[in-house]
């Protein structure tokens, strides 16, 4: 168990170093001179050019630049955004709660529902219930979610007028930041809860579509596989009910692939549901990242990718360590 954990941690470190090199190289891989790109075609005075170059640290040797980048990153200095002239870390922290709230809310409905549908489909394998659940899941899996979102906006916002088209809350409200979750903050401040909720529903629904489809699919397939195992037959022969076997034995055995899928989903949602956030003008990190790429805000892109990458790697590490808890057989490896 200990060796196993150390190995995981080692891999985590290797990946983290890889991430840092990758994000460091982003700025240096850009064809042409990034400073020139920043200034644009109009050009700038040589002093300004030199200053910009110095700010980005581009005047030093590559290796030194890299170590400086890592050192600054570790001490919490992620650079200054060119567009907003604010520290990248602050910009990030401003937006992260919005992303967190949206992903939490979308996972809150889609994961349990996906699990239930998958279990039901596996248990009733071959019936109409199974077929219809899996058809829906397949369509959901192939769905271009930006289009799905547009269609829902067209129906619920434009035609029916039930939900707002975009944003996180109506302009008239500005809840004092306590948790960063508008749903909670508006409850504390006493006004605007309804508005925050209404703004959240559609994006959360759209964002949950893919997780719903993937989780139900993987739950079904891994459960069906486990239910065919010899020990399930043996448990039945010992007189346990199908329900008991399903919930106590089969689910636990089927949980590794499900857990992996959930880990990937959580990772990709936390790093900003790029498409959904852009679609609904949701002020989260996914949209921020796209905007930074579009406006060539390189300090943001560079630190952002490292920050997001580390978050994902960390989530993977947690998922990996959960494997051993769920299935003791994996601990031995």
């Amino acid at each position: 168990m200990k060796i196993w954990l150390i190995k995981r941690l080692g891999l985590f470190l290797i990946t983290a170093i890889g991430m840092s090199i990758l994000s460091f190289l982003v700025l240096r891989l850009v064809p042409g001179d990034p400073v020139q790109l920043l200034i644009g075609e109009r050009g700038a005075a040589p002093e300004i050019y030199a200053k910009l170059r110095q700010n980005l640290g581009l005047d030093r040797p590559l290796l030194e630049q890299y170590f400086l980048f890592v050192k600054n990153f570790l001490s919490g200095d992620l650079g200054i955004s060119i567009v907003s002239q604010r520290p990248v870390w602050q910009e990030f922290m401003d937006r992260f709660p919005a992303t967190l709230e949206l992903s939490a809310f979308s996972l809150l409905w889609s994961l349990p529902l996906g699990l239930c549908l998958g279990i039901l489909a596996a248990f009733k394998n071959g019936t109409w219930l199974d077929t219809s659940t899996m058809s829906i899941s397949l369509v959901g899996y192939s769905m271009p979610i930006f289009w799905w979102g547009l269609i829902l906006i067209m129906i619920f916002s434009v035609r029916l007028g039930w939900t707002p088209v975009s944003g996180r809350i109506a302009l008239m409200y500005d809840p004092a930041t306590v948790t960063g979750f508008y749903l909670i903050d508006t409850l504390i401040s006493g006004e605007g809860f309804r508005s925050a909720l209404v703004h959240l529903i559609l994006p959360a629904f759209v964002l949950g579509t893919i997780p719903l489809a993937t989780v139900s699919r993987i739950t079904r397939s891994s459960l069906i596989e486990v239910l065919g195992e010899e020990y399930i037959k043996a448990l039945k022969a010992r007189g346990f009910s199908s329900k008991y076997i399903l919930f106590v034995h089969a689910l636990r055995n089927a949980f590794i692939p499900i857990l992996t899928t959930i880990g990937v989903l959580v990772g990709s949602l936390l790093t900003g549901a790029i498409l959904t956030e852009t679609l609904f003008s949701w002020p989260g990190i996914g949209r921020w990242f796209v905007q930074s790429v579009t406006s060539r805000d390189y300090p943001v892109v560079q630190s952002g990718i490292l920050l997001l990458g580390l978050m994902i790697t960390f989530i993977n590490l947690i998922v990996d360590s959960l494997y051993g808890v769920v299935n003791p057989r994996l601990r031995a490896r």
């Binding site: 020990y231 037959k233 022969a237 010992r238 057989r329």
Partner: protein, 331 residues
């Protein structure tokens, strides 16, 4: 269920199993019958595909939905069982009929400790007050010396032989009246095979259950069974006291089986020609027709009826003569 008493201890009468899919039907077992007394060891022997493994699962109601079980009467442990009744099946699984599967390691849930899996079963048994002491005793009883430590082990940490002992302990935990052991030693090393069989025999004396031993291994059957049934293509070919059936086998199929054994001592090893027939077509005559040395035209059209010869019965038009001592010195 009716009251026990007049009933035999174990009886299966006219038991047929067919499998059905969209295109075809095939029978896996046809009009199979046998009886057994309390504490008796019955051996069911046959090639793979003869339907022997399906028998156990069908008595537990564990066959897939595509299987149709048609039976006249099933009595287990002196009690009449309706295989179509869910409540009957629930009662059977475990306390009346226990089963030991071929692959010991995969028959235990890899996610739980041995202790947990024993506890699960023991807590179903109302007579057990303290599961922990009971579990220790059971493990000790199946020859696992350091039971205390093994309670915390996972199946993957144990050898195949140990897992098989655990499986036996799990079956014994419910004190079954009948125990089916489906190829209990096939997946084990030769040295372990004997230990496991001896253990099963000891436990049979101790718990007094009827043991149904399903195997393709004639040696095993002759060594441990009181009576033997020879199964071929879903039908019974010969039955009787184990020693009788193997030493003085009358049915050409039993003979062929014996001659195909590697330690058969009358010259060269002799394989049975041909393959097990296609179970989708039900032959009118004898199922062994086509592979049999002694077949005549009659065998193709007329189904042989049971012929008895003292304690020993067989289904054949042209049985081998009685007195011939057949080579089974080591069997």
């Amino acid at each position: 269920m009716s009251s026990p008493g007049a009933n035999p201890y174990v009886k299966v009468q006219d038991h047929s199993i067919t499998f059905r899919n969209q295109k075809s039907r095939g029978y896996a077992l046809r009009n199979f019958s046998f009886t057994a007394a309390k504490g008796e060891v019955i051996g069911i022997v046959g090639e793979s595909g003869s339907g022997k493994s399906i028998l156990g699962l069908s008595l537990l109601g564990l066959l897939p939905e595509s299987a149709i079980v048609d039976t006249r009467e099933v009595i287990l442990g002196g009690e009449k069982i309706l295989l179509t009744s869910k409540s009957d099946l629930r009662k059977v699984r475990g306390p009346i009929l226990g089963m030991i599967f071929q692959d010991p390691v995969n028959s235990l849930d890899p996610c739980y400790t041995i202790g947990y899996q024993l506890k699960e079963v023991l807590q179903r048994n109302p007579k057990v007050k303290n599961w922990l002491t009971e579990a220790r005793q059971l493990l000790e009883g199946v020859g696992i010396a350091d039971g205390e430590r093994r309670l915390g082990s996972y199946p993957h940490e144990l050898s195949g032989g140990l897992c098989q002992r655990v499986q036996i302990a799990l079956a014994l935990a419910q004190n079954p009246k009948v125990l089916i052991a489906d190829e209990p030693t096939t997946a084990l090393d030769v040295t372990i095979q004997k230990q496991v069989m001896e253990l099963l025999m000891r436990k049979r004396e101790e718990y007094d259950f009827t043991l149904i031993l399903i195997s393709h291994d004639l040696g095993l059957i002759s060594q441990y069974c009181d009576r033997t049934l020879v199964l071929y293509a879903g039908e019974k070919m010969e039955e009787g006291p184990a020693v009788e059936v193997l030493r003085h086998s009358r049915h050409p199929y039993t003979r062929a089986l014996l001659e195909a054994l590697p330690y058969h001592d009358e010259g060269l090893l002799k394989p049975i020609p041909g393959l097990v027939p296609d179970l989708r077509e039900m032959p009118k005559g004898c199922v062994f027709y086509g592979r049999c040395e002694r077949q005549t035209e009659m065998c193709q059209t007329v189904k042989p009826q049971l012929t008895t010869d003292g304690t020993h019965g067989f289904f054949c038009h042209h049985p081998h003569p009685v007195k011939e001592q057949h080579g089974a010195s080591r069997v």
